[in-house]
Amino acid sequence: MQAKQSVNDFVIKFANVNGTGSASANSMFAKAIFRMGIPVSPRNIFPSNIQGMPTWYEVRVSQDGYLGRRGGIDIMVCVNPQSIKRDVAEVESGGYFIYDSTKPLDLRLIREDVNYFGIPFTDICLREYTDARQRLLFKNVIYVGALSALLNIDFNVLKDLVADQFKGKEKLITPNIYALELGYQYAVTHFECPIGIHLERGHKLAKHIEDFDNILMDGNTAAALGAVYAGATVAAWYPITPSTSVVDAFDKYCRRLRIDPGTGKKNYAIIQAEDELSALGMVIGANWNGARAFTATSGPGVSLMSEFLGLAYFAEVPTVLIDVQRAGPSTGMPTRTQQSDVLMAAYASHGDTKHVLLFPATPAECFSMTVEAFDLAERLQTPIIIMSDLDLGMNEWMSPPLEFDGDFKYDRGKVLSAADLDGMEERFGRYKDVDGDGITYRTYPGVHPDKGAYFTRGTSRDEYAAYTEDGDEYVRNMDRLLRKFETAKSLVPEPKIKQSEMETRYGAVFFGTTASPAYEAIEILEKEGIDLDTLRIRSFPFNHEVEQFIREHDRIFVIEQNRDGQMRRLLLNETSVPAKEKLIPILEYNGLPVTARKIAGMIRNYVTHGNVTPLTRRSATEEISA
């Protein structure tokens, strides 16, 4: 039998039982590879359960720096008898299956084309530990130790990580290192180490990875830091996976950075609201009153916030909302990822509403876009929705470092101070478009004894904020809001475009976490002679680069993680794309992050079997005909 061979390029998956402490051992495994300077992307694939259900952790190791899911499993580490049958089946031919050999393996689970490595994890634990909890926890550490030998992980790196992890609880360091050694020793004495798939330091990395002094971080923590940097002082929220860790991290950083050393008082306020309606109401109230405030939620929360989003849009109150998307509809798959809130977020609420959306693709962007969102919200006086997802928010991603320009100044938008009001000759009109960009001037409550007070309302009003049911006034106001949305196009982040080396009339459009596997898929296809230019959308409303890209290509694959092709529909709706046929949906919506192979397969399939002229490149065609 052929055993797979590769250096720094494989997919390994861990099959664990939820609630047994496996996540921290698995993350130590991933971080060790990262510290060895080898690109890695770990993903927690967990159930909506606290204890007892099967849970998986998939780690992609890629010398070329591909961070999306590749598809397929090369090595399976199975410590969960519940899922063993499907775990064996998932291993690719020539792959490796590492399992707990305390009990002999059921013969039906033995595949000819897979290499088995049995390690008696349970036995070792029973022998070494008496406490039940310790037996459970150290089993995880032991298999990491074994992998260190099998895959050639630098043992010192692991030791350092243990020391980092237990800073402040030093007496836990030695037992953890001992457990690592137990696994390591078992592997070196029983198997030939390393195995055919393994790690090696010091290989040259792909250019785009090498350029940065990368960090390993989850998107939710990065977004929370963004809110701290943007000067958010109020956060209101209601717990929901996968967004909870945004506010948890905001809380953690505020405790560290925002407590006045003199008085011990907090320069921030966090409220766990009674529901998402209330959370957004608080955010709107605080922003109306001149504080920067935000909330974080997921799809079900955005549904509840819909009425308030319309109010903020129409009454023109800055609002920042972080939507960490998960699989819907309804409760859907609460711990699975998707990009399926696009249309809801873009048009949330009744009446004619449109919202500004930002689409981060890396933790660095979760940070920078959150910082930017607060400026945009105040400049545009409207809700800004940051469209993250479970995959980005809750998993650790290798990312360029977070950046913050020391000269950066908050742009609080058009706010009149008491002095401004005193200096004004004309009457203050809250909804008067003085500058012609659709954005009007506002005042904070309490700022001037006699000037600048106005009535904020969700009902139609005139330029002076007085109630009106006059149809012409209403239309004037609605048209101004449209003008403001037009202004937004020049303020929101522009897309990232990559031209293929060969001239092509075909393009691919994607956003957020679809970007990593999409870029990889494009490279796979390129090797096959299928060339595509790419555009990564980073915001809505779509700026003119998006329009231009659509205009310049004959066929465009819109790759996204939802059933209905929501971004495609938004593009059809909001750009001047002439025909539906021009945009071809490439969709994945099974709740797991889409893989590069799947994307490449769908595009390939379309090209070779679909009604599209094969996209073979000219040079390749010549070779074939030669």
Binding site: Y229, V234, K265, N267, D450, Y467
Partner: protein, 349 residues
Amino acid sequence: MTFVKPAFRHPDAPLNELGRSRQDYEGGLSTLCAGCGHDSVSAAIIDACFELNIEPHKVAKLSGIGCSSKTPAYFLSGSHSFNSVHGRMPSVATGANLANRDLIYIGISGDGDTASIGLGQFAHVVRRNLNMTYIVENNGCYGLTKGQDSATMDTGSPNKKGDINMYSPIDLARLAIEIGATFVGRSFSGDKQQLIPLIKAAISHRGFALLDVVSPCVTFNNHSESTKSYEYMRGANTDMPVDFVPMRQEITATYDSGATCEVCMHDGSVVRLYKQDNDYDIEDRQSALEATNHYAKEGKILTGLLYIQRDSEELHDVLGTARRPLNSMTEQQLCPGPRFLDSINAGLR
């Protein structure tokens, strides 16, 4: 339609300590039905703020949706106001208050707005003891949507179609006392003498102050059998007259009957209450609940200051927020700067 009042001010109009006349506390012309109880509540708010020497711009008015929630347009035109969405004023008020703890927050709601669609938010703003005055203009019906029954309508009270309400009512004052409100008053829009001092006391109270004010809807729920009508209220109202004496002012009695009780407020002002019943301790929740219950059993409605907890931790105390308003903090205070980010990055390698 916008109604703007003439700016003419009578030269002899009395001025308060700020040199402002009562007119400075007025708002736009009301568009409510003539005789609507809500207009009397607005008038009482105007009087209370004028007499308390409040600077109008230091007040923020908030409301939900309903005839009652429209009324912030009819008083204190020098204040910012936020007419939000139906039943959600408490959350907007909470956010606003978190941003700037130095303003006076007056929330106006209706019984539909508070007791039905907004009951959840109401209960939670009470729990949080947000420093605000929350006035429910309670008419037992949905005025703005043409008179449907509300959740405060008493059992047995007929509606505009003559149907008898068979559901049990939500008594917002009692509910608030149960779930920890620190100031609960009940009043009647037709009793200015009691309502004005109660509003003053509510504004002076540090923490959440609820005023459940029976405020008849003359168009849909003012028939004599309705328990929220002027006629019924005049008969059933068992009022405990209230005096409000601002800090540093001499106490002069206005009423002369009943058992008096004086409560010194957090800011040094004094509320003097003329109780109907000597055993009633307005600083005891159980006693307050028993008293309202006792009168309700006799078909009476006890009005006045029903319950007060003088010293309590309002939301900012609980959270431990800075004394300075959060909305006044600058970039220097809030942004950790690039060097801290370097250390974050270093910790993630």
